[in-house]
């Protein structure tokens, strides 16, 4: 089962720019490739890009653990990460994250706990945005709410569908 409820595949990552491209523009390029933000007008996307933060995680370190309270979503800029589902006595690597992948988006909508842990499989560079910034922007520009919610709901519907398929599959087997 894929954990697509909280992650989306990106389509690669833009080249690290020259000195003359500012960090803001580079962040914009990264966000544009994430479906949640792709439909936004450029000048609003820039506000998101402004409030993003970059961070680096060394190989082997956890970005967060399953069950922790969550208030940030991330895009992978460089490196590889693993999504890990933890159980009492063992854990699974559920999925691998690559540059351009977006994950943790539910944290932007509500105060939820992490459904999985994320560990850096290589040295990892990430772009993060926190719930407060995300919501403040929506409050400032309410016309964005619809666009963003459409994408997010679409994704939740897809997950639901997958889950149902999975159940049917299970039933057939048993």
């Amino acid at each position: 089962m894929s954990s697509s409820e909280e992650t989306t595949k990106g389509s690669g990552i833009p080249e690290e720019g020259t000195e003359h491209v500012c960090e803001l523009d580079r962040n914009v390029e990264i966000l544009r490739r994430v479906d949640t933000f792709a439909g936004l007008p450029l000048e609003r996307l820039k506000v998101y890009a402004l409030l993003c933060h970059r961070l680096r995680i060394e190989k082997g370190q956890f970005l967060f653990q399953q069950g922790e309270p969550a208030d940030k979503a991330y895009v992978v800029i460089e490196g590889k990460a693993q999504i890990i589902r933890q159980y009492e006595d063992h854990s699974f690597i559920v999925h691998e994250l690559h540059p351009g992948d977006f994950f943790g988006g539910l944290a932007l909508l509500a105060n939820v706990k992490r459904l999985f842990g994320v560990r850096a499989a290589e040295d990892l560079e990430l772009l993060s945005i926190d719930r407060e910034s995300f919501r403040k922007i929506l409050r400032q520009f309410p016309e964005l709410i619809e666009k963003i919610l459409d994408v997010m709901i679409g994704r939740i519907v897809a997950t639901e569908e997958k889950l149902l398929e999975y159940h049917i599959h299970e039933c057939v087997i048993h």
């Binding site: 000195e19 003359h20 491209v21 500012c22 960090e23 803001l24 962040n27 000048e43 820039k46 506000v47 890009a49 402004l50 409030l51 933060h53 970059r54 961070l55 680096r56 995680i57 407060e132 910034s133 403040k136 400032q140 520009f141």
Partner: protein, 831 residues
Amino acid sequence: MILKKSLWSWALTRCRGLQALLLLLIVFTVFFRVFPLEMQKRIVNEAIRFRKIDTLFLYCGLYMGAVLLAGILKYAINVLQGYIGQKILLEMRTGLYQHVLQLPIGFYRRTPPGMVISALTSEISSVAEFLGSAVAVPVVNVLTLGTFGAYMFYLNPLLALLSLSIYPFEIAIIPFLQRRFNRLNSQRVTERRAMSNAVGEAVSGIHEIHANASYQLESEKVARFAKKLFQLRHRMNLFKFGIKFTNNFFQSLGPFLLFLLGGYYSIQGHFSLGALVAFLSAYEKLYDPWKELMDFYQNYQNAAVSYGRIQEAFDVQPEFRLLARDKKLVALSGHLQVEDLFFDVHGKIRLLEQINLELQPGQRLALVGLSGSGKSTLAMILAQLYRYEHGHVYLDHHELRELAKAEVIPHLGFVAQYPFIFDGSIRENILYGCRALSTVAGKTAPDDDPGSEEILHMVDQVGLTDDILRFGLNSLVGADCCQDLVHKVIRARHRLHDAWGLELADCVEFFQKGTFMEHSSIATNIVFGYPSGEGRPCEILPKSPRFRAFLQEKGLLEPLLALGLDVSRRTVPLMRDLGDDPFFFQQSPIPPEELDLYQAIMEHYKEEHPAFQPRDVEPLLALALRTVPGKHKMVTVPRELRAKILEARPLFRDYCSRKDPEAFVYYSENEYLHSRTLLDNLLFGRLKEDGSWAWDKVMKAVVDLLHEEDLYDRVLELGLEFQVGSKGDRLSGGQKQKVGIARALLKKPRLLIMDEATASLDMASQHRIQHYLDVELRGKATVVSVAHRLETIRDYDLIAVMKSGQIVEMGRYQELMEKRGLFYELVRGND
């Protein structure tokens, strides 16, 4: 009790020596007030009439001397009066405050703080004004009046009788007006208190006001009172000036009579001209003491109104004695017994009913139940915060109600759900209980305070060490203190660079002479230091003509102005639609209030390389200089400009050391930078981002380093000096609670009462404190804990489950679980 005294007893029993001196001075002045009149008469009658120059000089000299002396005496009298009044005020105010502080919590529930403040500040000071003059003014003025009156009789009894006959009319009319005035004045006190309350409430509820934008609503509330005050004040003025008018009218009737009759007698030759002049003077002089008496009368009435209102507002007895009659409780075992305890408020609402329980010394009791079940009330009664009337609480077999505060406090630790944090340092807040103890016990030497070691141990036990460390590392060390610390930090800095430099390069930007610093402003990049006076380089430099001359000379001015324009072009369109929410502007080099300015500039220059007008130079330069490339993400600094700035750095230093060597402090590996934090000094650099991941990584290295260099405790001690702000506003909820717990535990109490004391703590801190209670306090203190997280009370000796003011179940955790009653429900509901 301080408020039982009458106003006059304050005036007559305080500063008696000074009051006597005052009276003596007054008798002298009265003499020197009459004396010039006699001189006047003699100057006219003897010197002028008989053309005696010598006598004229003599009398004029005497006249002058008497007037001068009278003036000096008057000055001394005024000073003395003021001193006496303020001295009594001091005693009254401190006494009243002491009384007010001891009043029961119930009193404060119905008394808003604004009223207390109003009473202690403005109302009471009007009383003092009167008290200073209470003895002297009536005596001096009655005496003066009498003397002038007698002198007038001596000159001409008939005229004197006539001119004094107007006073009885005044004495009849004025008190009538004054009574009306007093009634209004009393109303004014009420309204003014109400207004103070409304303002006080708005200040403490400012969050709610901002959240609802209820500015209009709130200002209307105050405006209502202000309007009432305006009307009252206006009506008071009608009476006040009515009294003045009556006074003046009768006063001016006097000369009318005098001229008429005196003139007639003079023409008839019954009365000398000199005597008439003196008589007129004397009558004029009557005016002053009479007016002063009138003012005194009004002051007295105002003071009586204020004092009466204060008396009536605070006429409440403290619930517990402060000092013990006989020291019953020197040592305490911690045995606690509650017998048939009932507790009512307002005489009818029953909060506790028939509570019975017993705790042996060192045992632990948990009070649980839904909110409103009375568990907090019970805890507060046990902590002597409320006085119970029915039933018994025995502390070591002494009735708690009858014990004085001084007997209970040394053995009692109380932690409220939201401990109150006072303005001051963390250290002062943690020591609060111990310091209060030493004043209650009669000791005032602060040497008895627990030492830093003990405080830090307690800080560690409650899990506050990391926070204190952070405060310590973020503190500024002044140039005039801690030389040893400064040297150690510089040594540690070198050690850090050698051992962790490479590892930390990821999250720390070190100050390096030859490197452009992304996370410092352009100004700092040029100066590579900071101004030795007040202000940041990016605020001072753009205004300095010398600095501009330097930039011009090195060919930096044009590129910096171009950068400023570029920053405006990139920032203004981005931020323009974001309102003025400071949240968005954290990342903006242009604050919301300057957006318009830079928008205008930006629109003025359309071409790529414009010629800048002189008036735009300062704002553009300022913007360029304050830009921090690593923080303001919309900005890029061209590579050529970076190179130029690096080139200019040593040149700037040379340039300044020639012109003004003291103006800047330059970053140097071997100097402590006093305007930067301790952490910046240790790193000799700054954190690239505020993110916690960078902080954790840096902290690991820094803590190791501090231990190695024997600096760890020193930094913690600095952290203890962190100023928490009013009501501890600069601390988080959890930090406040930890400070409150440390405050109570530092007293080493035999009886510890905690009212949901760990409610705003995270799990880890909660376990840590539980561990302290389990291990360090086990058997040493009797603990009563109002608990909301039930898994923490598994091995308590006794759990009392409360519902509607009664204990419905009592026993140990396991027993209660097996019983499957209310406790079982609560535990299950908690999951």
